[in-house]
């Protein structure tokens, strides 16, 4: 091992191995559900998963799978196939790739296990409605749509009643699909575990407030998988407990995520999955650590609305008020808070052509951050998994110029 390798090795997050084991076991469970007599539900990333866990249904996330497609650089080919089928290139690339994987029975890990039901929550976008309708027709399985009205500023009483009512419809749907009674005691336990898991995830992200930070948002993109897929389980709680301990230990031992952290940055939007390594190395070469992001915090940002003792009621509000379902003014407030909390020197904005709801309003957010905090920002136009849309030299010039600006500022 060379000195450079040793140096790199000393910075590696040890929990990565454990995480991979858990995700492998999770996908094996899901892929063998038919043999073990368990049911599989496909669910959107922002969907209320806890009732599924309470009913022993294995939740599977096409969006997590989308990230896997992106990271394995299969997005371009799959999106192209979707275009050949007639899906416009302007549509969400997760949707396009997922639909194609179903049709060709392919993609990473040989495709996702077939669903017994679909749970679609539109708190993240409107595309999911059509995406899940297509899949419901394709697999001929029941679809439950959990409709969360947009919260421009507040959660109105009408919304509260409307969303709460759907939770009962949701549990009824599950009772019919699973042919068993909904376990109201179990959901309390699952709810408690969900809140605990989210609190721990928030604490993990908060360790990046340290200087130097023990982790980057690129690490968070990876470790996020469990709070998405196994939220509400003891597995997720245990994992984040151990990850948190590791992060605290790294802080105590002075192990930083990048060798020389001089600048601290905030990332907005989904990762560019096929370029995570390139991006992290690019910024690290500028001594810049991306200490926070608006994406991974979406799975713990609504904790203030959640009540472990009254989970089902509080869940309605928490799932409705997620980052992508609120007005730009509210988003601005959150971003400004994050800038202060993690004490960042610059703002990196991924204008993601694949995710319109996330990218709409970014110019306003950018302006607000510049005006209120006076920090430089940069916008990188790209695509979360369709690598055909990434231009390395253009992205590089923007990043280099942005870092030169920050360095000039001193």
């Amino acid at each position: 091992m060379t000195d450079v390798d040793k140096e790199k090795d000393s910075r590696k997050i040890k929990s990565v191995g454990k995480m991979k084991e858990i995700m492998t076991a999770y996908y094996i469970d899901a892929k063998t559900a038919e043999q073990t007599g368990k049911k599989v539900a496909w669910i959107t990333s922002g969907g209320p998963v806890e009732p599924l866990i309470a009913m022993d249904v294995i939740p599977v996330y096409p969006e997590n799978y989308g990230a896997m497609i992106g990271a394995s650089k299969m997005g371009g080919d799959l999106c192209q196939k979707a275009e050949e089928l007639g899906y416009s290139g302007d549509l969400c690339s997760y949707a396009r790739a997922d639909i194609v994987c179903s049709m060709i029975d392919g993609g990473p890990i040989g495709g996702l296990p077939k669903p017994d039901m679909l749970i679609c929550c539109n708190n993240i976008c409107g595309t999911v409605l059509k995406w899940y309708e297509i899949q419901a027709r394709y697999y001929n399985v029941p679809l439950f749509i959990f409709d969360t009205p947009f919260c421009h500023t507040e959660y109105a009483d009408e919304s509260r009643r409307y969303v709460r009512k759907q939770i009962d419809e949701y549990t009824n749907f599950l009772e019919n699909a699973c042919k068993k009674k909904f376990d109201h005691d179990r959901i309390k336990e699952v709810g408690r575990l969900s809140v605990e898991g989210q609190e721990l995830w928030q604490e993990v992200l908060d360790t990046a407030m340290n200087r130097p930070s023990p982790m980057t948002c690129f690490d968070a993109f990876f470790h996020l998988a469990l709070i998405v897929t196994l939220r509400g389980t003891q597995i997720a709680v245990d994992y984040y407990q151990s990850l948190l301990e590791e992060m605290k230990q790294r802080v105590a031992d002075g192990i930083s995520a990048i060798p020389n952290e001089r600048y601290r940055l905030l990332w907005d939007n989904l990762p560019i999955w096929y370029r995570v390594k390139w991006m992290s190395e690019k910024f690290a070469a500028h001594d810049a650590c991306l200490v926070a992001d608006t994406y991974t915090s979406a799975w713990c940002g609504q904790l203030k609305y959640m009540d472990g003792d009254n989970f089902l009621d509080s869940m309605a509000e928490a799932y409705t008020r997620i980052y992508l379902n609120i007005g730009v003014d509210e988003m601005i407030k959150i971003v400004l808070e994050v800038v202060d909390k993690y004490d960042v020197d610059g703002f990196v904005i991924h204008s993601n052509r694949s995710c319109k709801p996330y990218s709409l309003g970014q110019y306003d957010i950018q302006r607000a951050v510049q005006k209120e905090k006076g920090i430089p920002s940069v916008m990188i136009e790209s695509h979360m998994i369709d690598e055909r849309s990434f231009s390395e030299s253009q992205s590089e010039t923007r990043i280099d110029a942005f870092m030169e600006m920050i360095k000039q500022k001193g």
């Binding site: 110019y363 510049q370 430089p376 920002s377 916008m379 136009e381 849309s389 231009s391 030299s393 253009q394 010039t397 923007r398 280099d400 110029a401 030169e404 600006m405 000039q408 500022k409």
Partner: protein, 255 residues
Amino acid sequence: MITAGIDIGSITAKAAVLEDGRILGSKVAFTGYNARQAGKNVFEDLLRELDMDASSIEKTVSTGYGRNSVKFADKAMTEIICHGAGAYYLNPEVRSIIDVGGQDSKVLTIDSDGRVKDFAMNDKCAAGTGRFLEVMARALESDLDDFGDLSLKSDKPSKISSICTVFAESEVISLISKGKSREDIIAGIHESVASRISSMARRVGVKEPVMMTGGVAKNIGVVRALEKALGVSIEVSEFAQVNGAVGAAIMAMRL
């Protein structure tokens, strides 16, 4: 202190040599296929013209999209910082710079110390750049150097609605077949370039005085169309095309 700046753009390579902040000379050549060779050639040609030896250059900074291919440079910096430095050198009062080169267009603002405050660049599309104008010149069988003067003769610029170079070309061909005058079509082309750049400029926030740099700044038609679109007057230096290289040489003084 003698410094050099090399700016490798997508169409042309530029070099500038400065002595204690005074421009000794500059040169422009086509980049061609081999960006590395282009940087070397333009630099050597300039040195020959100035009757100087490479050893007399103390520091060199490279910039432009081919900046990392200039192996003899002491440092590579982006064209954003270099255009800011170049414009500030040419006129320290300047606060906004519109740079339109071969395949990209950018707008940047600088503060009273010449530091870049903000910038925006064109998206992954060559519409509104030098390459766009080249394509149009070909479609119109005109010399690009005449574009500026021809467009100023127009009193009724054609409407080029497309924001895509390829589609705009077919639009131009259809305008030709409709019998529109060359002057009007060219003026329309300039307006379409200006409209694209001005929205980017407004996003960053235009602060006067405004300077235009890059090869397209030589086209008076685009400059006038931009002035009209933005409602400001725009200054263009004789060093507009080599501004990036001049800025790079300025940055080299600080190494």
